[in-house]
Subunit: 341 residues, 4 copies
């Protein structure tokens, strides 16, 4: 809270009450009486004033609105840390000059299939292998993932290829297993505001890939990063994956403008997932290139050796040869914006 | 999957491949060649065909789209159970002729405050007491609730007033405590697709109040109810609490049309939360009345003895006297639509 | 523009430049230096400062944001006129104690059909007859309305029943014809920001029913009312008819909270169109009742003697007997909120 | 209409009624009785079946839903014309290998300012000059444009630089003047479904730049192109400029996935307007590059010699030197995707 706008009929008593309340919080009030409205500028360190205190002020009869000028996130902000955060995983770095590509199937389906996919995406130039062992599915009757068995197949794929692993954590009770087998822990779209899960990964030493919620504003998304960082884990990667709008030609609306907006607000690296973002095979390459041109630090791309038989997201998974072709097309785009891939 | 539309250039081989695949699933294909498109009607029990199988068909080159005619939820559907579900909690029933009002503060703040509020809302005619001990907050720096201590204060309030308790569960690890002290377990908006949490309450014997997600379609919301029911707990109460749109005059857009839509699709009772739905004190009474007129089985209303000092949601909490006035105004509206309150 | 927030690194020179610019507009600056941000409160009559001037200030390097506290609409505001506007058309008044029902088919299809519908809706208790002679259709191949011939049929229906006419104007070149035959001119959803059309009806002596745009905020909608009023026609009726969201169970999402929001912001009467708002026959009665309970001054309902053969909107038109039944059900709801119908 | 899904309780009589009705339209019915639903496939040329006929079928009691498989647009579709449309204006072509840049101020403000801007954008590599003489403004109190005087300044700028002119038409009554002075007629966002205006420019010989409506689906947008084409003007340029969502960090959400979606559905050229799309100066260059990488045929960029004094959109206008820098940065991105600029 930084500015309190009063109603035209706010009484002197109400104003005195507000000032006293501000003083009780160690803040000073700076009255500015306009011809039509009185505005109170709040002086002092308002960064510790919580949301609920703001709401309390809103509940005072003479108050029309309470506005916050300062951003509610701190550790995640550019003001807190001016240089971009580069997250190192083994020999690979996310957030540097090189654009990282995280590729693999939606779900881990079998050991052979994972190792085969890992080899293929590595050959095409991917830096990370993705695959879900715990799957959040809209229907209770859909395949829910192989669980810990799936994590072991990811581990085996890493051993064969050297590719570090990105996999999703859905339940705080699985953290030990996921931490053990993964290199980066993914927090999925539907869990972006599962605050207990955020606090849990905040205590992990593993980097966290934080997907944007379907209806999350960029500020709420950064607040979720702040949750993780507030527990000591500063290695958060923001992942844009489409928001929900009225448009039905695509599965979601990929909000690429989130890339430059985040780059200005935060020092954290930004990755884009065009596979979920559009959800239509034919349009993924165009949006992958656009993401790189917009300044993304990485891409998350679903690749499956046989999409027709995939246990999830078959309709939006690239075949390995399509992924290989895309990687080739991405190289000049990366170069055109001063990056490499 | 019930209808497969082919691309204009689908080959005979592709069509044969699709038919063979359907037969492998124990289904029959019914070809319908139009002048511009060929459509395959799928005959047989498609209710067991999962989403991922649909996506697999979508990944076949000759396929343009795959449409599902049957609803993906079963236990929650009107087809499964034609009569409305009435959920009994002690002497109170949700889903019957009487409209249930669940009232209380956003957060449990102290024992005295809870008991005081409980007495007041009971006197005004509420049937349930609400209050959060575990609070999902956008900011890690906001008040996160009193935890188990808060549950004990709710228990004390119930003992004093006889009002059964509705309180939120955020983390599967808290289920024992929440089950112990509550009469109805609330699943909050941000956890509507926290599937592990849904499975957990699916094994509970306590009724579940399932709030709609900010960007959840009514079908996805019913799929979340299905998750709970699929584990054996059929006592689910749907709670509309506003969806996220572009409009900023209200905190959310309360989608009251969800009430008649749900009444047609499901046998489960439907409750409306106008407090979160509009988030502006002045507009809550009008929307509470509208919810009753639209056919809601209950209301969830935030009431706080001193909103200005509330630790959360102060700006949208009714004072006890305003709540009392609203309850009086609701009575004739309920009567006008053949209900009582 | 009422508050200018400066960037943390705004220079003294930039601040001086802003102050000078404000003084050039006849305004005074009131500097409020906080610990982290400097804020300039603007003193004086900012009501004449236009949007583009605000944008100009936004373009100054040291400026972070420019906020407007005062509402951009004037004539439409409650501050300008405290008492509700009651619009009289013949013996009927919109905005008074009695809730007005405007009923009729989407399109005028024939003279016989119009007269028949008019008689039926009048008998059921409607106060106005609606029907479109000029039809905005998504497809150029759909029925575009009967044009002036249709207006004549409306006129004939009025002569037979005495019901005043509400009909849509789509093109400024048709104003004479529409003015001649109608009692209230409707501006449709797709034309809410057709500013030339708004200026045209602003010069008319006929009341204007202004439908909300599909993606219009309540403030933008009031700005469109302001356009009409700025030309001298103060008889504007606001008509909520659903906004576009991600939900697909209903044609649009009827935003009933717009009713109390508008009642607070403006003195103009508010009407609700549940037919377009939900677009599904079964749900229209529930939403009509909810609209009345929310405080609407009127309803716009599509009624067609034979929906199956309707030339437009057949799927959401009530048959006359359904309309009659609804009117009976609405009476006690109106009474419950201190109105009559 | 191509598929009619019946309710589970549809009677034989209702089915016979539907079949008879289809036969009356010269179509045949193909019944497919599933275990849980009966589906009627419609055989014959359904392309002439209008929307209202579909709605009429929906109004039949036994019908659950009516689905259309074929796209409702024809002339605009890839099926109708397989090769991309290249629109020639003088020596310039839109839709070919070269990416066209249309640059200039939001509003025409003076003759000197227009000529100066034209010279600067030409020097930086723009192919077209934009500028509004008729301005759709949210507020009636904002600058509404210079009208025909403004068109003359555009003409003067063209004479000085040779740059063809893109300018907006808001009112059918201005078509002669706009046609006289412009090379491409722009239809603005708020007029995308001003159908009378669309029919008007459909009779013009000038190409039309059709901006997407704030809440328009891609299909509705193509239907508006179809309106124009149905009158004989096949030179339509689709312009993506952002849609309205819940996100407030940007003015609109630029939907870049519309580019590949359109490229698949239509042969018409696609242009992107990042200036309105994001509305924040700092983010325009990133989104301009992303648009080119996504496959756009052109860009529409606001450039103003002195944004601080602009009569509209100052906060999102690039200064000429920023535009020059952007043009240089765009060249390698265009090359990376096989284009030039």
């Amino acid at each position: 809270m930084d500015i309190i706008v009063l109603k035209p009929d706010a009484t002197d008593e109400e104003i005195r009450h507000i000032i006293k309340k501000l003083e009780g919080l160690g803040l000073a009030a700076h009255l500015s009486k306009g011809t039509e409205r009185t505005v109170i500028g709040v002086i002092g360190d308002t960064s510790k004033v919580t949301e609920e205190t703001d709401d309390g002020f809103r509940a005072i009869p003479g108050v029309e609105s309470v506005m916050r000028i300062l951003k509610p996130f701190k550790l995640a902000s550019r003001e807190f840390k001016k240089t971009p955060t580069i997250i190192k995983v083994g020999d690979t770095a996310i957030g540097g000059r090189k654009i990282c590509v995280i590729a693999g199937p939606c779900s881990v389906e079998s050991k052979a299939m994972m190792i085969e996919t890992a080899k293929q995406v590595k050959k095409a130039g991917a830096s990370f292998l993705r695959g879900g062992a715990f799957k959040p599915r809209t229907s209770p009757y859909s395949f829910q993932g192989l669980g810990e068995e799936g994590l072991k197949y990811l581990d085996a794929s890493r051993q064969k290829t050297g590719l570090p692993i990105v996999t999703e954590l859905m339940d705080p009770r699985d953290i030990e297993a996921v931490e053990k087998y993964s290199d980066i822990i993914q927090i999925g779209t539907r869990n972006m505001q599962n605050f207990r899960l955020l606090l849990e990964v905040g205590q992990s030493r593993k980097p966290v890939l934080l997907k944007r919620g379907l209806a999350a504003t960029i500020k709420e998304w950064l607040m979720s990063a702040e949750y993780i960082m507030s527990r000591g884990n500063h290695n958060v990667i923001m992942c844009e994956r489409g928001i929900r709008t009225f448009e039905t030609s695509t599965r979601n609306t990929l909000d690429l403008s989130a890339v430059p907006v985040l780059k200005k607000l935060t020092h954290l690296p930004v990755v884009v997932d065009p596979s979920h973002g559009v959800g239509v095979l034919d349009h993924i390459p165009a949006m992958a290139k656009a993401a790189v041109a917009a300044g993304a630090d990485g891409l998350l791309i679903e690749v499956h050796p046989n999409p027709e038989e995939a246990l999830s997201d078959g309709e939006q998974s690239l075949k390995p040869e399509m992924f290989k072709k895309l990687m080739k097309e991405l190289a000049p785009v990366a170069k055109a914006v001063g990056r490499e891939i």
